[in-house]
Symmetry: C2
Subunit: 338 residues, 2 copies
Amino acid sequence: MLVTLKQIAEELGISITTVSKALKEYPDVSKKTRKLVRETAAMLNYKPNSFAVNLRTKESKTIGLIIPEIVHHFFSSVIKGIISQAEKKGYLVITLQSNESYELEKKQIDLLISKRVDGILISLANGTADYKHISEVLNQETPLVMFDKIAKAIKCSKVTIDDRKAAYKATQYLIDIGCKRIAHFRGPLLPQNSIDRFLGYKQALTDNNIIYDPTLVYLLNKMSFDEGKFYANQLLKDHNDVDGIFINTDLVAIGAISEFNNQGIKVPEQINVIGFSNWFMASVISPSLTTINQPGFEIGKKAFKLLYKEIKDRKKKKIINYKNIVLETDLIVRESTV
Amino acid sequence: MLVTLKQIAEELGISITTVSKALKEYPDVSKKTRKLVRETAAMLNYKPNSFAVNLRTKESKTIGLIIPEIVHHFFSSVIKGIISQAEKKGYLVITLQSNESYELEKKQIDLLISKRVDGILISLANGTADYKHISEVLNQETPLVMFDKIAKAIKCSKVTIDDRKAAYKATQYLIDIGCKRIAHFRGPLLPQNSIDRFLGYKQALTDNNIIYDPTLVYLLNKMSFDEGKFYANQLLKDHNDVDGIFINTDLVAIGAISEFNNQGIKVPEQINVIGFSNWFMASVISPSLTTINQPGFEIGKKAFKLLYKEIKDRKKKKIINYKNIVLETDLIVRESTV
């Protein structure tokens, strides 16, 4: 059973107030008594009640993290980055999953607010198109930082990569190695990063005087391995002249390569493939996958740092300047491109 | 800013006590006032202070989870199982990482206890050989459930698979398909699951009248992809007659297969490979990996259920019967075995 101040008081035959004051090192308790209380508390393995501490300091030293999916190489890297940084500052992290659902995301936000977390980190669900639940958090002056899947319309601090630039770089690379007909497997319509990756792809084509052909763009929903297989098969049926694909995420690209392997289509000789994110898996499949490196651990660290600064600044009643951190990415060339 | 009872009281020109009583639906406040307070609270977006609630109920509705590593397919599946189940019961999950270090694990336990979580779920670090920190938690009557990497000596509820049986099954399969010289890449000396997997391997050899050769067993430390490559290379140097390997975990097996591929050693024609855990990656590499399916999501769910029951039973002052749940595993045969 957890030891209370009362038990320490009974043990020593003094009042609870004296015990409490002694533990806080109040000078109106004698040095001798303070020492006695400290030693007794240590002997009984007394731990201060953190709820009581919370009431006094109005801090929970806990933050909430909402991500779309936990079993996911990129997001687990982000979680690791956040937790490692939070630990350094003595903060605990409550992790919740939105399953890409707007309704669930709203519920999780409410839960964290009612729990009085000191701040919230969030990567939006694909299903989120309305941001009222986010605005409410910000209106209540609870610090909130978005990362990865963000809402441009919302004013708060954000950590992202330049998705458009990264997609442009990937597509330009396909053009540079000689691809003439380049397809794109894009993500759902809503999240900003899937829009930006599509726009980067399109811009690279235009800048290289390649006519944009909308039939070469496939809209995916689940972004799964199986969807990768399915649309690779569809692409082969629809267009026998495609010589390169830029794919929104590695998992889908790995599915596509698996389908090409099964059908005897040679990667990269017949089709060059570039993915996005640099999941660990990308380096161990055969052929290994050329991809954009998305620094999940760094994104997590930076997101926590921004949140921490905001928590501290608000406490000091400082004016909050929202920051927009954009991390660099690079293209990692492997075997799936010539 | 979060709305307080005081603000509601000021808004209505009544006392804080009346507001508090009204929100708790006390009958000594008139129906009309109760309705007015409820409506005002809703309008001002009032959320009850959860720290105050906690002090009253002595429950935090929060549990702690300590795992060795987050960026890990098996553990992220476990986290997902735990969070999904915790959500159903209204519990939040604080996740901490031990990095396989005993010192860090001890620190994390202390942190969770000082935070007064309602219970703790833990998979032990490879570095943990002393269990005093765990006993202390149990002595303080804080519910704790171990999963995956457990300590046999500690009396508490546990969720595991039968590692010995699973390893026996994998080794027996290698024998059944004709392997005569079977190597084993084992995990570190400490965690029970690496001991049990080794013992299952050894038992299968003995039961099939194959002489156990300790030089065929390699002791790994980091259990990484690179270690898999390194020891695969070492094995080829040490023993040119090996025709099968049972490997403690998929990530290492995938490293080994990658090294065999690089050196032109044909899997499975020259060497059959079986892994352990069934990481998603196992199904997408080439050749795909035969492995033991370790149900991470199920383990997480079951572990939370046991913890929840213990939290409730303790509250009702019931006697706690520790449970030992052992989940079934099966062998998934893919291309890395003939």
